[in-house]
């Protein structure tokens, strides 16, 4: 058993080691090597599970600051006014996301098998991306968080830009621009918060310290700082989530990215935004988060995301773009759940992140499978695949219905939690929350609409002669899809055991940090 202090560090940097190894291995075993490293990372991340067993107090700690496990602190920069540590750790919020990351990375590495162009570069960037993402989900120091946050930018840019579709350049630069815009704003907030903080007489970057009362100047006297910082951070995260109107990068990036990268993009990268809200915005700036205006803005934007995303999805004829817009719609639930500050909403948002991580990755993979075979994604030209590819269709049904929020599958739990939570939200007054809830619940209808319509147009209907010889899904593809399908069901049936038991306590702690209790 490895020393658990360094376990997280190993998890974070193992892909980086793999990247170094990839530089030197011969070309024929690059894929295998990369897969080995992602698998090893996944297995290593499973070693975290024993630390999250036991009573809820053991899992979540007695308060927010107490809840971090596997914390590893190495002093990094302590000079001339800077207190920056290499500080990593996981709590109930980070832990499921780290697991999700390592799993989805492994699966999408497996899904990358038919990448043929420049595979060395591809897998090097891939592993770099994995390190960046795990880093984001584990960093407990704002500076480190930012570094990892940006670290995901570079590989993603090239992964889209080099291995992407016809409009890859446009998509890549758009992705880059939006994300950089967000992170630049985040940087301002970071500066502001750091130099305003006072922890035992020193400035601090540590999320743990920043979340303690009294470390930042009081809300009463520094309202502007709180609200503006919250807004800056929000934009940074909103770009990633992505929230209307910062979402336009997403359809382009998703559509142009190669399938495995779309999986990561939708499954993991978007989660960085929601995670950021839960890890940074609310714990560090609780009073701002509890402000009415903030709740209203987040709530309304969440609703817009849900409805608008669904409507846009409905209008698409590109299958992948449809799925991309469905991500926007689904991530609206995350925003709504977080924004309205109820326990159920927080839980729902957290669950939705995990569930969407799996279902959207699955959906993108499914779209990729069909794209590999017929080389287009035009829904209007597809049709009748159910007859030709029964196994594929079956798996697709699971994936898409999970996305649709069918009870018993993963998408359902997150949505109802968010909606039930937002119904009870007190922060918007009695009517506001209810109106928002009703509107967003009507998104259920739209979701069913576009997903069923898509299924009908793609899988159902009379078989088309041009797809008569389309081979069914291969064993490798089943290996990619099966875990996601199983998890979709497992999450839907046993949500408590799979997610909430880890996350719930921490979410409650986060909520307790907020002024209303």
């Amino acid at each position: 058993m490895m020393n658990s202090t360094w376990l997280l560090t190993w998890i974070i940097f193992l892909p980086l080691i793999g990247m170094g190894v990839l530089l030197v291995v011969p070309k024929k075993i690059i894929r295998e090597t990369a897969l080995t490293f992602t698998l090893a990372t996944f297995i290593l991340s499973l070693l975290m599970i024993p630390h999250f067993q036991g009573s809820s107090l053991q899992i979540s700690g007695k308060d927010y600051q107490d809840g971090f496990k596997l914390v590893n602190v190495v002093p990094w920069i302590h000079s001339s006014g800077f207190n920056i540590d290499y500080r990593v750790g996981v709590d109930g919020i980070g832990f499921p996301l780290v697991l999700l990351t390592t799993l989805i990375c492994f699966l999408s590495c497996l899904a990358s098998w038919n990448i043929s162009k420049g595979i060395r570069g591809y897998f090097i960037l891939f592993l770099l991306l994995e390190t960046g993402m795990i880093g984001v989900f584990t960093a407990l120091d704002f500076f480190l968080f930012y570094v990892f946050w940006e670290l995901t930018l570079l590989p993603m840019y090239f992964l889209i830009g080099i291995w992407g579709g016809p409009r890859k350049e446009y998509a890549a630069i758009k992705f880059f621009l939006y994300t950089l815009l967000g992170s630049v704003l985040m940087l301002i907030a970071m500066l502001w918060l750091y130099f305003a903080s006072n922890y035992n007489g020193e400035h601090t970057f540590s999320f743990i310290h920043l979340s303690m009362p009294g470390v930042l100047p009081s809300y009463a006297s520094h309202q502007t700082m709180w609200i503006v910082c919250f807004a800056l951070l929000y934009v940074g995260f909103a770009v990633k989530i992505p929230v209307f109107p910062f979402h336009t990068w997403l359809p382009d990036a998703h559509v142009e990215a190669p399938t495995p990268i779309s999986m990561i993009l939708a499954g993991l990268l978007l989660k960085m935004g929601g995670y950021g809200l839960l890890r940074v915005s609310y714990p560090v700036l609780p009073h701002a988060g509890a402000a009415h205006v903030v709740a209203w803005v987040l709530g309304i934007l969440g609703v817009i995301n849900i409805i608008y995303g669904a409507l846009c999805a409905m209008a698409q004829t590109d299958f992948k773009k449809l799925v991309a817009y469905s991500s926007i719609s689904h991530m609206g639930f995350v925003l709504l759940g977080i924004g309205l500050l109820t326990e159920a909403g927080f839980q729902g948002a957290m669950f939705q992140m995990i569930a969407h991580g799996i279902t959207s990755a699955a959906m993108f993979f499914l779209v990729g499978v069909i794209y590999d075979r017929v080389h287009h994604r035009d829904i209007t030209r597809l049709g009748g695949l159910a007859g030709q590819m029964p196994i594929y269709t079956g798996l697709s049904i699971v994936g898409f219905f999970a996305g649709m929020g069918l009870p018993g599958l993963a998408g359902f739990i997150g949505e109802i939690y968010v909606l039930l939570g937002s119904w009870q939200a007190v922060v918007l007054g009695p009517m506001g929350a209810r109106v928002l809830t009703v509107i967003s619940a009507s998104g259920m209808i739209l979701t069913a609409g576009y997903i069923l319509w898509a299924i009908q147009r793609v899988y159902l209907g009379p078989p088309k002669p041009e797809y008569a010889n389309t081979p069914d899904i291969t064993l490798r593809e089943i290996c990619v899809m099966a875990p996601m399908a199983v998890l979709s069901i497992a999450l839907g049936v046993l949500p408590w055991q799979t997610v909430f038991t880890f996350a719930n306590g921490t979410l409650v702690h986060v909520l307790k940090l907020l002024p209303s209790g």
């Binding site: 446009y170 630069i173 758009k174 621009l177 815009l181 109107p245 979402h247 336009t248 359809p251 608008y308 409507l311 846009c312 999805a313 409905m314 209008a315 698409q316 109820t342 326990e343 159920a344 839980q347 009748g384 159910a386 007859g387 079956g394 219905f401 069918l406 009870p407 018993g408 359902f412 739990i413 109802i416 939690y417 909606l419 039930l420 939570g421 119904w423 009870q424 809830t437 009703v438 619940a441 009507s442 259920m444 209808i445 739209l446 069913a448 609409g449 576009y450 069923l452 319509w453 009908q456 899988y459 159902l460 209907g461 009379p462 078989p463 949500p495 408590w496 909430f500 719930n504």
Partner: protein, 690 residues
């Protein structure tokens, strides 16, 4: 307690079947997949029947409702449990569902013979069986909702089973989406309930409602009730969400029988029955009116339909409207009793029609049939039994249940005179029901054979298909016998007790809520009319129902058998009405023109906004910059927008292009620019700063 566990086992058996079939279905193949699924559902029917027998044999004082829950999740800090509730209604429903399912599973083995996706069919059926039983057993709103969605999705799969047909996949999609609209409001109702009462467990919710948590929230409870009811509206195909059900007939006939006649569509009624205590009088009135609109409208449409399954579908909608109406006017027992009897005879009707279709090689148009009685006698007889039952022929099960419903309606109108329509229209519809059902029967099995080809090739169905028919016919005849409503005793505060019920209806009546908001509120109002004996209503209802039935049947004979009145001429004379009915009151067209087109327009708009506005907002500002630059006398060449990504980008780029124009390449201009700046500084320094 043991019964609960027995039922849980019975409930899980179809899931087992589903699990096996989904992975190995293809390997098991036809017909073993059918045997497996049917065997499992029969097993669960046996268990259910055993449980029912043991339940009935207990004696009324021992038939205490049982509720078992396991913690599932916590929504916020409110625990949400999944559990089962076993009372008389559950037992009855469960037994009915399993038995009808068994019949239909068996029947399907014959009906689906030779279909290339035979195993898949039974996979779905098994999943449906599981879901439906779960729905029956669920003891919480969330549990109901989950299985509610699951049966919906099974319905989706099964309607679209022959997905190669566009009509089938369209119908499947339509069914699910229309249901989703109901579910959405159902969900809102759940959210209200959870928010107000802190739980979703039915008993907990009722208790909280009774405690008065809704006091001071205006008509929120009414609203919540109506929202919850809309779940039923969707699932039970009530106006205005009834449009999916006739289309759902695209599915294989056993599916129509099982899901779209006997069980799933009745789930809405079951739901209303289950959550009856939370409905306020206003909500109930709303429910009643929805029911009456549905039952009358669809009965009218059924007259003119020519597709045998569509007639039955509209008849189903109509009958469901009866049940909803009955519940709405407070006839809880009558509504649910009719649910059970209807399940039997409607399943029988559908299976019979399936047998006819099977025998006629897929022909569904009754105008092309005729004289089939000789060719398929068993089908004919069972179909006749069912027809008479639905028409309310004395001593068949439908007679008892329809009588009970009409009685409750009459009772309601008696006390609420202004709502006389709630009795008049159902009575009229009873006649219409008898008429159109006889029409179908006569056109199909008697009169002349219009299509020789069909007639010649028609044949009786195999044994595996007619044995279920016979079984269901037996049930149709017998389940209403020996019934007696229990005595209802008011305990004050809207609480009642029931004693002395007999037969099936008595059993159902035992499960009747002991308390309901509406009763409580009704008690607070002084009833202006005096108390009239229940028996009086029954008597009058029997008279009305029987005469309506007789009128309908006679009229049908006149038109179709004796041909004294020409249906053709009638249609011509009343052509506006006829057109209206043939086009189902133009509901589909209305929806297509408003909601479907509206949503699609919105969707297109969203896409357009994304593409043209959000992406171009700053493109536009860039263009402004360019324009401004032109005005200021500098030419800005706009080449190379290839790299311009969007928005702020192009603004910046245009700005950059503007800025770099300063770099003219002529060094004297550089010096001039620099000198200008210095001169300005000198000017400012010399003449502005002191």
């Amino acid at each position: 307690m043991n019964i609960a566990y027995a039922l849980i086992i019975a409930f899980l058996l179809p899931l087992l079947g589903f699990g096996i079939l989904v992975f190995f279905g293809r390997r098991i193949g036809e017909p073993r997949a059918g045997y497996l699924a049917a065997g499992l559902i029969i097993a669960s029917a046996i268990i259910a029947s055993g449980s029912a027998v043991s339940w009935i044999s207990r004696g009324q004082e021992n038939r205490i409702p049982v509720s078992i829950s396991v913690p599932w999740i916590y929504v916020g800090s409110q625990p949400v449990e999944l559990g089962v509730r076993v009372d008389s209604l559950t037992v009855v429903m469960f037994t009915m569902v399993t038995i009808v399912s068994s019949c239909i599973f068996v029947y399907s083995i014959g009906y689906m013979h030779g279909d290339k996706r035979f195993p898949r069919f039974f996979t779905y059926l098994s999943l449906f069986g599981f879901s439906m039983l779960g729905l029956v057993l669920a003891n919480s709103l969330l549990g109901l909702f989950i299985f509610w969605e699951l049966v919906g999705i099974c319905s989706y799969f099964l309607i679209g089973f022959w997905f190669e047909k566009d009509s089938a996949s369209n119908a499947a999609k339509k069914a699910f989406i229309v249901n989703r609209i109901g579910d959405f409001l159902f969900f809102v109702g759940i959210a209200i309930m959870l928010g107000m009462t802190g739980g979703v467990n039915l008993e907990g919710v009722f208790a909280k409602v009774r405690e008065g948590v809704f006091a001071g929230h205006g008509s929120l409870l009414t609203f919540a009730g109506i929202c919850l009811f809309f779940g039923a509206v969707g699932k039970s195909a009530q106006f205005p969400l009834h449009v999916w059900l006739p289309d759902a007939m695209e599915g294989p006939t056993p599916v129509s029988a099982l899901i779209h006649a006997a069980t799933m569509v009745a789930a809405g009624v079951y739901l209303v029955g289950r959550i009856f205590p939370v409905f306020t009088p206003t909500a109930l009135l709303f429910i009643a009116h929805i029911g009456v609109i549905t039952l009358f409208g669809s009965a009218l449409i059924a007259i003119v339909m020519t597709d045998i399954k569509r007639v039955l579908a509209y008849s189903t909608v109509s009958q469901l409207g009866y049940m909803i109406l009955a519940l709405g006017v407070g006839g809880w027992v009558a509504g649910l009793f009719h649910l059970i009897t209807h399940a039997c005879f409607k399943a029988l009707l559908f299976l019979g029609s399936g047998s006819v279709i099977h025998g006629c090689h897929g022909e569904q148009d009754i105008r092309k049939m005729g004289k089939l009685h000789g060719k398929m006698p068993i089908t004919s007889i069972t179909f006749l039994i069912a027809t008479l039952a639905i028409a309310g022929f004395p001593f068949l099960s439908g007679f008892y249940s329809k009588d009970a419903m009409l009685a409750s309606m009459l009772a309601f109108t008696w006390t609420h005179g202004s709502h006389w329509i709630l009795f008049i229209l159902p009575s009229l519809a009873a006649a219409i029901t008898a008429f159109y059902m006889m029409r179908v029967y006569l056109l199909t099995f008697h009169t002349t054979a219009k299509d020789e080809h069909i007639y010649h090739h028609a044949h009786e169905s195999p044994k595996v298909m007619w044995i279920p028919l016979a079984l269901l016919a037996a049930l149709t005849i017998g389940i209403g016998w020996f019934g007696a409503m229990p005595e209802r005793k008011a305990m004050g505060g809207g609480v009642y007790t029931y004693e002395g019920g007999r037969g099936l209806v008595g059993l159902i009546a035992e499960a009747q809520p002991r308390w309901a908001v509406s009763w409580q509120m009704a008690e607070n109002l002084k009833s202006e009319k005096g108390e009239v004996s229940h028996q009086v209503f029954h008597t009058w209802a029997t008279i009305v129902a029987s005469s309506a039935m007789a009128m309908g049947i006679i009229f049908a004979f006149l038109v179709y058998s004796l041909k004294l009145i020409s249906a053709q001429r009638m249609a011509e004379r009343f052509w506006p009405i006829y057109n209206l009915l043939v086009n189902k009151f133009y509901m589909d067209e209305l929806y297509r023109a408003t909601f479907v087109a509206g949503v699609l327009k919105l969707a297109a708009m969203g896409k357009w906004i994304d593409k043209n506005i959000l992406d171009r907002i700053a493109d536009g500002s860039a263009r402004w910059v360019v324009r401004w630059a032109f005005f200021s006398g500098l030419t800005l060449d706009n080449r190379g927008v290839d790299g311009a990504v969007n928005g702020a980008a192009s603004l910046a780029l245009a700005g950059g292009n503007f800025a770099r124009k300063g770099q003219t390449g002529r060094v004297r201009n550089y010096v001039l620019a620099m000198a200008t700046v210095v001169a300005i500084v000198v000017l400012v320094a010399g003449f502005v700063v002191r």
